[in-house]
Subunit: 107 residues, 2 copies
DNA sequence: CGAACGTGCAACGTATATGTTGCACATTGA
DNA sequence: TCAATGTGCAACATATACGTTGCACGTTCG
């Protein structure tokens, strides 16, 4: 996949493992990498890489206190993605209506 | 990338080339594969594969009349993705508020 | 019929995402 | 000090997304 900065949120949400990590972090349980690794069907190191991807996309941010690193979700990228989709939906919907009107004129 | 059926829309929107195809199809210009291939920096065959991906995700649907295949966008998957994001945003936001309340009690 | 056009499919090479194992470093506590 | 814990990084293997080239099929038009 060609990773694009402006589409980083969509990219992060493509992988069901990352979505599950997000849900668990949001739920407030198993928020350390080791705990996630114990629950998910992948190794702890693989979880680390997914967490890094989510952090790069701005979907989570971590507080590291001592040897434990705890994470919490961020809603902002989600809202931005929602606006992006809403903008597109409005444009496409308008285009579809123009097409419908055009076809109407042809009859 | 591990392709997931329920995340097909996000997957389709990951690639900037596909987003550009969607925008052009929505604009109503260059809606045949050959025309898209002439404009985009990839070959016509590569466009075909992207179009197939978009069709599988339900983001576009095609009418084939004779030897020309014209496509139009569909708004429904976009709206579903928006609802998905809205659902998550609400849950995460609630979790963040619970966390804020908890931290408030600790003081 | 035969040439040109629009399209799709298969084979191939390359880049990269994802997982693993192994090791190293910092922190905690006996 | 030294073992246990939590974490991150590097090397490696595998799967696959993406693009290309080449070819085949159906359609249009002289």
């Amino acid at each position: 996949m060609r990773r694009d900065a402006s589409l980083a949120t969509f990219w992060a949400l493509c992988d069901p493992v990352r979505v599950e990590i997000l849900d668990r972090v949001a739920a407030g349980s198993e928020v350390t990498v080791s705990q996630l690794g114990a629950v998910l069907p992948i190794t702890r190191q693989a979880v680390t890489r997914h967490v890094k991807t989510l952090e790069a996309a701005g979907l989570i941010c971590g507080d590291r206190q001592g040897r434990e690193h705890r994470y919490r979700v961020a809603v902002t990228p989600l809202e931005e993605a929602r606006r992006w989709l809403g903008h597109r939906a409005a444009i496409w919907d308008a285009a579809l209506h123009r097409l419908a009107d055009y076809l109407e004129e042809q009859t």
